[in-house]
């Protein structure tokens, strides 16, 4: 492209960006002469250059706008929203022509006559006069009626772009003219009274500024930056050498070199820095247009626009920011009427705030709109199948809000109207994370939403924590590090293992740990009895600990990409040279997180099921849990509802029957099952036993010590493959293994069941179909019902159950959960009742909510009875009743 043309394009685009902002300001301060003259000058420059370059179409449009602006400047015409809209429109026309010009290097064919005519009409006062005769009369004291023939938006709501603007003046519909009218003479008078000062002042300032800046190719700056980075590293090496030598003649010059280098680095860094206001420049215009379009009144406040950050970062956050502001204006803020009804001011406010904090830049985008509608998000989550109702019930509002960052939450256009928010928030999040930033969300329904973005100042130099592992040093970017924890056997924190998986208790939470040594295949991974450090890192919402051997300092490092032949190793985001001259690999916390996730996925093929169980039990219902100690390791727990009695048994009374220890208990033989497989019957001792009983059968689970009964939420945090264990949970602030009672019950009663069928051949087992999406409850209820003499078939969804119906299975009774993903229990009941084959099978609903209203709804859907989920006895009783009733009826 022609140099001249390309320079013209850059300059004109810049000027237009400035104009956008200035015009909106002008609309609010119609009588600011310096603003007006500046706008006039910019448009004039565009026109002049167009003429010089032979671009007639552009010139014509610019000329017409300039005419209108000239009349403003001379006080012959009032600044009205309509006029500003028209000038903005002409800027848009110029922009679109420029775009084509940039691509084809020629003006597109076309005709702007309509626009030019309207501009000319305005300049001559015709248009405005036709609509409102009083409008052009600048000093008309009585407020004229509706002077603005607004073609775009019936109730025009001008935007207050700067905090300093008296919003009241600009936002009232009739006010602009009414209030602008009295000061107009002053506006007109100022240029007349003192025409030289404003242009002189403005011109001087501008031209001297222009002389002081030059355009430099960005590549050149990038190169400079790289060179300076190298210089800094070399300087660091020299200083290190100097430190080891006493009385060196190099000391003084090196000190000097040190200072100069530091200053040079700072200076070059500055050339890359730009105020964040550059990324915001387009926002006032955007918000103004949106306000018109949506008939809203919006006040955009921008604080900290002078906050500087690296231009590379700036480029990357520009689009996400624009997107979020548009979202706030579009979906966040309510219409003026709604706002008044809610007792808020008519004008909605969007605040952008940027500031430095600890080597990072924080950008807040806040609105005082309606906030995120939790219920609407929930509906959407269920609709998209992102979570089940049970899972949602256990989530905090904060967790639910996070779903707006999920992909798929935003793609469908209809989501916008339902959820109120969230078009492309996943893209925003991805873009911000790509540059090593994070985004957080806070929203209070009815009060507004605040997004907080945290991004590194620059991508070239990052602050990193240097750690050692397996004799090698690695750098971890500081932005993802939350805290450091020293872990040793004698310290407060110690690494515990569940089935070999290391975990750490940290403030009442189990923190999953990743051994860097094992992950990087350094050494043998045997880390017991050693002092280690845990780097607590956060990636998105996932917090985990990285086990390392030592922690050194944090150091500013220059990130360099790794060699192409190593790019496939996802655990490294780059490499760098430290101050001492050695090369060090930079770990990528995202890579570690996904890698550790994969490992756990591979280790437990039921990882998904375990996660499901975790959510399923995350209810507000607290459960009574019996805590006890048995065998090695963590304390163990079992739901108290399963335990019939606690007994203390004299081991002298233990006898052996069929190779199994038994004890005479209430006139019957009770088999004893130890949790600890190495348990031996020791004479002359007593041992606590948990008695699981049903009817006149009972089984004793031998434990070492009963600790406590606690009321707590059973929240299985980590799944396991060990037989007899469901997983681990934090109970009473301790990592606790939750035992699978069903496993031990079947151990004791397997033989007995065989006998039972032999003994009562005529009385076949009643067949129960159990439908529950949560594996936790399936595991809990299946053994319970089996022990009670039912043949249980457990399925995880209503669809699966209906499949069994179609394949010809028959059951005596169906027990179904209500809250299930996909087809709910109520829908299932309706389907069963509508179905010919199973329509007479009794249906028992199982739910954590058992209010009278729920009962009614259940009955209507076709359930025979309704049982609360944790009520074991009620369930057994209901089953018995239901079956006998059906039999009686048959």
């Amino acid at each position: 492209m022609d140099d001249l043309l390309s320079e013209f394009l850059t300059e004109t685009n810049e000027n237009i960006a400035v104009l956008d902002v200035e015009l909106v300001r002008l609309e609010q301060n119609p009588n600011d002469p310096s603003l007006l003259s500046n706008i006039f000058r910019l448009v004039h420059t565009i026109k002049g250059t167009c003429g010089f370059l032979g671009l007639p179409r552009l010139e014509a449009v610019a000329h017409a706008s300039e005419n209108v602006l000239g009349r403003f400047r001379d006080g012959e015409l009032n600044v009205s929203p309509y006029a500003v809209t028209l000038i903005l429109e002409s800027l848009d026309a110029i922009k679109s022509i420029l775009l084509v010009l940039e691509k084809t290097e020629a003006e597109p064919a076309g005709n702007d006559e309509d626009l030019i005519n309207r501009l000319n009409a305005l300049a001559e006062g015709r248009e405005a006069a036709a609509a409102a005769p009083a409008a052009p009369v600048a000093a008309a004291p009585p407020p004229p009626p509706e002077p603005v023939p607004e073609p775009v938006a019936p109730p025009p709501a001008p935007v207050a772009a700067t905090p300093s603007v008296p919003a009241a003046a600009a936002t009232r519909e009739v006010a602009p003219v009414a209030e602008a009218a009295p000061p107009a003479p002053a506006a007109a008078a100022t240029p007349h009274a003192a025409p030289p000062p404003p242009p002189a002042g403005g011109g001087d300032g501008e031209s001297s500024l222009a002389n002081q800046t030059i355009r430099v190719n960005v590549d050149l700056l990038e190169n400079l930056m790289t060179m300076v980075s190298e210089l800094v590293l070399t300087r660091n090496q020299l200083l290190q050498i100097l430190r080891s030598q006493k009385e060196s003649e190099f000391a003084v010059p090196l000190q000097r070199l040190n200072h100069v280098t530091s200053e040079l680095q700072e200076g070059v860094m500055k050339t890359r820095m730009q105020p964040i206001g550059n990324a915001w420049a387009k926002l006032p215009r955007l918000v103004r247009d949106l306000a018109h379009e949506l008939h809203k009144k919006i006040d955009l406040q921008m604080l900290g626009a002078e906050t500087e950050l690296d231009r590379q970062v700036l480029e990357l956050i520009k689009d996400p920011l624009t997107h979020m502001v548009r979202n706030s204006a579009d979906h966040g803020l309510e219409l003026p009427g709604e706002r008044v009804a809610k007792g808020k001011s008519e004008t909605g406010r969007i605040t952008l705030n940027a500031f430095h904090e600890g080597g990072h830049i924080i950008i807040e985008i806040a609105d005082d709109g309606k906030g995120l509608a939790i219920e609407a998000i929930k509906r959407k989550i269920l609709q998209n199948g992102l979570a089940t109702e049970t899972e949602l019930a256990g989530m905090s509002d904060q967790q639910i809000q996070q779903f707006i960052f999920k992909a798929g939450f935003s793609t469908a256009a209809k989501v916008t109207s339902v959820s109120g928010r969230g078009v492309g928030m996943d893209v925003v999040k991805t873009n911000i994370e790509k540059i090593g930033g994070t985004i957080e969300l806070k929203s209070i329904e009815g009060r507004g939403t605040t997004f907080t973005i945290k991004i590194p100042l620059t991508l070239a130099i990052v602050s990193a924590l240097v750690v050692e592992c397996g004799g090698e040093r690695f750098a971890i970017p500081q932005i993802s590090v939350i805290e450091l924890v020293r872990a040793a056997n004698d310290s407060e924190h110690k690494i515990e293992r569940i089935n070999g998986t290391p975990v750490l208790r940290l403030r009442n939470r189990l923190l999953p740990l990743v051994s860097l040594e094992r992950l990087l295949k350094l050494g043998d991974g045997d880390q017991d009895n050693r002092e280690t450090f845990i780097v607590v890192a956060q990636v998105g919402n996932y917090t985990f600990g990285i086990i390392v051997d030592r922690v050194f300092d944090t150091e500013e490092i220059v990130v360099k990409p790794v060699a192409p032949i190593l790019r496939h190793i996802e655990l490294f985001s780059g490499n760098t040279i430290l101050g001492d001259g050695s090369v060090i690999m930079i770990l990528d916390p995202n890579g570690i997180a996904s890698f550790s996730g994969e490992i756990s996925g591979g280790m437990h093929d039921t990882a998904a099921a375990a996660a499901e169980a975790k959510h399923a039990t995350r209810q507000d219902d607290r459960m009574a849990l019996l805590l006890f100690r048995a065998g090695e390791g963590a304390p163990k727990a079992v739901p108290l509802s399963l335990v019939a009695r606690l007994e203390d048994i004299d081991l002298n009374q233990v006898e052996a029957s069929n190779g199994q220890p038994v004890v005479q208990y209430r006139g019957k033989l009770m088999p004893l099952v130890p949790i600890d497989p190495s348990w031996q019957v020791q004479r002359d001792k007593r041992q606590p036993v948990l008695v699981f009983a049903d009817g006149d059968r009972s089984m004793g689970l031998v434990v070492d010590e009963i600790i406590d009964i606690v009321e707590d939420r059973l929240q299985v945090e980590l799944g396991t493959e060990r037989a007899g264990f469901m997983g681990s949970a934090i109970i009473a602030d301790k990592a606790t293994d939750v035992i699978d009672a069903g496993f031990y019950l079947t151990q004791a009663f397997r033989d007995w069941f065989g006998n039972a069928t032999d003994r009562f051949e005529d009385e076949r087992l009643h067949k129960v179909l159990l439908v529950d999406d949560s594996p936790f409850f399936r595991n809990l209820l299946t053994p319970l019902l089996t022990v009670s003499g039912y043949a249980v078939t457990a399925v995880q969804s209503a669809d699966e159950a209906l499949g069994l119906c179609e394949s010809g299975e028959d059951f005596d009774v169906i027990v179904s959960d209500i809250e299930m993903p996909g087809m709910s229990g109520l829908e299932f009941a309706q389907a069963v009742r509508g179905n010919s084959r199973w329509q007479n099978v009794p249906l028992v609903a199982l739910s954590s909510h058992a209010t009278p209203r729920d009962l009614d709804r259940g009955r209507q859907a076709g359930f025979t009875d309704y049982v609360a989920k944790f009520d074991r006895d009620a369930l057994l009783f209901t089953l018995q009743q239901t079956i006998s009733e059906t039999k009686g009826a048959a």
Binding site: K560, A563, S582, V583, M585
Partner: protein, 163 residues
């Protein structure tokens, strides 16, 4: 960085005309190899090398060469030879490949030879497949044979492994 010996670049401009080509020679396990001198950036003595976990075994690690990060390749392992004895320090030849620097670790680096194409021959078909893959041919020297290494193929192992 104690022994940075800049490579000599003599008469390199006339190569094409007189069909002479200059090679930096080196030995690995008593075999002489050559790399076109124009591709060679530096010759280094023993260096402090940072191990790179999870990297292919042939990648010995990375090192700092005057502020640039250089990936070190153990040519012995690349050629399927046993690793060098720990007590032998070894030397490295730094080459530029697509803008990235690689340090080829060899037993020792010799002189620069100017060889005529008359002495050049394709590799014998019976040569080890791995050696054939990374070399372009053989020069008959008076006393021994020189295997010409092809740097881009030598560094291509990551791809061949992945495939």
């Amino acid at each position: 960085m104690s022994t940075n010996l800049p490579a000599k670049r003599t008469a390199s401009t006339e190569v094409a005309v007189v069909k002479n080509e200059d090679f930096v020679t080196m030995t690995i396990a008593d075999q002489v190899f050559g790399i076109p001198v124009l591709q060679v950036q530096d010759v280094l003595g023993p260096q402090r090398i940072t191990r790179i976990p999870l990297a292919p075994p042939e990648v010995a690690g990375s090192l700092n060469l005057r502020g640039r990060i250089v990936t070190a390749i153990d040519v012995r392992l690349r050629l399927g030879l046993p690793p060098r004895a720990a007590d032998k320090p070894g030397m490295s030849i730094v080459v530029d490949h697509k803008g990235e620097l690689y340090s080829l670790m060899v037993d020792s680096v010799g002189e620069v030879l100017s060889l005529t194409s008359d002495d050049f021959e394709r590799q014998p078909a019976t040569m080890d497949a791995r050696w054939r893959e990374v070399s372009t041919g053989i020069y008959r020297l008076r006393e021994n044979l020189l295997v010409v290494l092809d740097v881009s193929r030598l560094l291509n192992f990551a791809n061949t492994e992945a495939a």
